[in-house]
């Protein structure tokens, strides 16, 4: 379809554009920026006056819960959530049931996602069969089926020799390995940061060393194998420092943080608020400040939603028994804007963390609006405020620590591959 997005403020961090520019879409691609291409006839005109036009968001961690956990969420519900959040590309972790360890499962997921014609789905394949940490998956087959990286989601990989072999094998073919660093012994039974709040509330703790000992091991093995490494959901000041040092030493490593950890700390648990039961756990004020500093200096490349819809029954439990995770795709943009405002980050710099940076570390061609690129566009009203509430969310998961917050920034139009998939 030929679409003319006019009068908006275009922000495209990759192309260093922040200016009032019109966007012209022909068929599935960006045809021109600024002036219409010759002979262009708009079939649809979007008036973006007062709005910001940006590449569709790229979210590197969104659980869609299919296959296996359809009672928590379905592809249909979560794709609607993605559209409402302006997310046009996402990668989903392999911790489905069964896990994404067979090419057939990945093909099915990709096919189902494509047929819905919403966000592009880039699965992270299981690094080991059944995420059991023992046998390598068929990474070549899985890549051909559509996997963009390989990881363990939150499942432990305690056998360091298997981890070394997995990295060596992935490095052979240039595949990406994505890991969330957590030592499963140190984190055993833990549900909250080993800090003041866990001490007070008597919650089984997860110490920072659970992250840093695992991270140090992973970084050393990556150095040894030369694998393309991505660290998922860094949560601690000490963890950020390890990555900063590794990057300074020239290691090919990227890193993301969840928006929850950019905004919340252990104090938000209050009196056992199970919505704040997250993995990794919310840490101290000092850790939060270090994560923000890591974002500013580029140690942390991307912000993700860590979207993990949980059904209501699984949250209506005592804190430790409640399932970890929070819904988030619809909050990613407003919470990135909130961070930008609080830390005085320019909009292009902030939006880079949810567009081109995650696209590049994922190895996909989206996340920018260059001429000829996929026409994946998000148009949002930066001044619109809305209140986060279960009824305001499209996701089947209504659990979020931000319930009741008033946030700023509302997606008005989401365009995927040249068709308007969402408009309000």
């Amino acid at each position: 379809m030929n679409i003319h997005i006019k009068n908006g403020r275009l922000i495209d961090p990759h192309n260093k554009i922040d200016a009032k520019q019109d966007v012209f879409i022909v068929d599935k691609r960006i045809a021109a920026i600024g002036t219409a291409p010759q002979g262009f006839v708009a079939e649809q005109v979007i008036d973006a006056s007062g709005m910001i036009v940006m590449p569709g968001l790229v979210d590197v961690a969104a659980r869609l819960r299919e296959p296996g956990y359809e009672y928590r969420a379905t592809l249909e519900s979560e794709m609607e959530a993605a559209m409402a959040g302006g997310v046009t590309s996402l990668s989903c972790p392999p911790d489905t049931d069964p896990p994404l360890d067979e090419p057939g499962l990945v093909e099915m997921l990709k096919h189902r996602a494509r047929s819905l014609n919403r966000a592009r789905v880039f699965p992270v394949g299981a690094l080991t069969y059944g995420l059991k940490g023992a046998e390598l998956t068929e990474m070549i087959e899985l890549t051909e089926a559509g996997c963009k990286a390989f990881g363990q989601a939150d499942a432990p990989l305690t056998d360091t020799r298997v981890l070394l072999r997995a990295m060596q094998y992935a490095a052979t073919f240039g595949y990406r390995v994505w890991l969330r660093p957590q030592d499963s012994f140190l984190a055993k039974n833990g549900v909250a940061h080993d800090g003041e709040v866990a001490t007070r509330l008597g919650l089984p703790p997860i110490p920072v060393v659970a992250e840093t000992t695992a991270l140090a091991t992973i970084l050393q093995l990556a150095q040894e194998t030369g694998v393309k490494l991505h660290i998922c959901r860094i949560s601690s000041a000490a963890g950020v420092e390890l990555i900063r040092t590794a990057k300074r030493q020239g290691l090919a490593v990227t890193c993301d943080v969840s928006m929850n950890h950019v905004h919340l700390t252990e104090m938000d648990i209050g009196f056992f608020d199970a919505n704040c039961h997250l993995a990794p756990p919310l840490r101290s004020q000092r850790d939060k400040a270090a994560l923000r500093a890591g974002l500013l200096d580029g140690t942390i490349d991307a912000i993700c939603s860590d979207h993990s819809p949980v059904d209501e029954d699984a949250k209506q439990m005592p804190f430790a028994e409640a399932e970890a995770g929070a819904t988030g795709m619809e909050l990613l943009l407003p919470l990135v804007l909130k961070w930008a405002e609080e830390d005085k980050v320019s909009l292009p710099d902030a939006l880079m963390r949810v567009t081109i940076n995650p696209a590049q570390l994922l190895g996909v061609k989206t996340g920018h609006l260059s001429v000829g690129a996929h026409a994946d566009v998000c148009v949002f009203d930066p001044n619109a405020t809305w209140k986060v509430a279960p009824t305001a969310l499209k996701s089947q998961g209504k659990n979020t620590p931000f319930n009741g917050y008033t946030v700023q920034g509302r997606v008005r139009h989401t365009i995927v591959e040249g068709h308007v998939a969402y408009s309000i």
Partner: protein, 318 residues
């Protein structure tokens, strides 16, 4: 953040923790318990009609004989109707959630729940869920809190020491896993005890225990030096060996309360224990049965304190 234990008039609605309660409320409970004990010291605890017509449900998701029994006696002395439910941890695996269980009991017109659960925060969850005219008493949740135990300990201390503001108190043992210790620490600091110590090896202390306002000792003799009150904690059987401690024998050798070690404390120091005791593990029999032990009076006071808590919540005026 609203304190979930208080209603909008600042009165006690639920007793979930000793943390965050004003000293006034704690003192009122101790005073009220004192009136019941005076009755008790006439060798006969008079039955009073303060909770007449009310239904108290003791729901214990974790086994307990002593605590449940003292709650039951306390409720009956207040003329309440008492229902005991030992639900055990298996009921959730049968498919019924904690809140389903609570909803069912609410439908049976419960006025008050006394809840014990193995997971921290269970009582808070129930309190947040029930109708505003229902009261919840936390009888122990995970490692978090056991407020009535702490209050009866405070009552015992006040009974023997009269004041709080001039005391040194040592809490000895497995603070890490102890809901009793957490509740004791909050109650002691709220009531104005200037020096609260914890004494244990590092493996039995929470990482940030000093943030609770206590002084940390790893040496038993130093920790007991010149204290007025020694509060022992129970060491669970399953923690006596493994990665926390090498053996019960070695624990007793360095942290067991013997007469010799007790001599470090003030000569009029009292020795307390929430029970059940492991003789020869955390405490020597000669101390447990000795002149400074107030362990059995603690149990007796426990009934009066629980009567005071229940009548404060639901009893109106005496």
């Amino acid at each position: 953040m609203n304190n979930p234990q208080l209603n909008k008039h600042g009165e006690l609605q639920h007793l979930l923790s000793t943390e965050g309660l004003p000293a006034r409320i704690l003192r009122d409970i101790l005073d009220k318990a004192g009136e019941f004990v005076n009755v008790a010291e006439g060798r006969e605890i008079r039955k009073v009609p303060l909770l007449h017509g009310k239904s108290v449900f003791n729901i214990f998701f974790e086994n307990s004989t002593r605590t449940r029994t003292t709650f039951e006696i306390a409720a009956k002395k207040l003329s309440a109707d008492v229902v005991n439910l030992n639900i055990g941890s298996s009921s959730t695996s049968k498919g019924e959630t904690l809140l389903d269980t609570v909803d069912n009991l609410c439908a049976m017109h419960a006025d008050m729940f006394v809840v014990r659960h193995s997971t921290s925060g269970a009582a808070h969850l129930i309190a947040a869920h029930v109708a505003p005219d229902i009261h919840v008493i936390n009888a122990g949740d995970g490692r978090h809190a056991h407020p009535t135990q702490a209050l009866l300990d405070m009552f015992t201390i006040r009974h023997y020491k009269k004041e709080f503001h001039n005391l040194r108190v040592a809490i000895v043992g497995d603070v890490l896993h102890s809901r009793v210790a957490r509740s004791q620490i909050h109650a002691l600091t709220t009531l104005g005890v200037p020096e609260v110590r914890v004494v244990a090896p590092k493996t039995l202390l929470p990482t940030h225990v000093e943030k609770l306002g206590v002084r940390v000792y790893h040496d038993m003799e130093q920790g007991l030096k010149d204290v007025d009150v020694v509060m022992m904690l129970r060491l669970q059987n399953e923690r006596m060996q493994g990665a926390l401690l090498p053996s019960a024998q070695e624990y007793f050798k360095y942290y067991g309360l013997t007469q010799e070690r007790l001599a470090q404390a003030r000569s009029d120091a009292i020795v307390m224990h929430p029970g059940p005791m492991n003789r020869g593990v955390e405490i020597d029999s000669s101390v447990a049965d000795g002149a400074q032990s107030v362990i059995l009076p603690q149990v007796t006071f426990g009934i009066a304190v629980r009567m005071a808590v229940m009548s404060t919540l639901a009893g109106g005026k005496q």
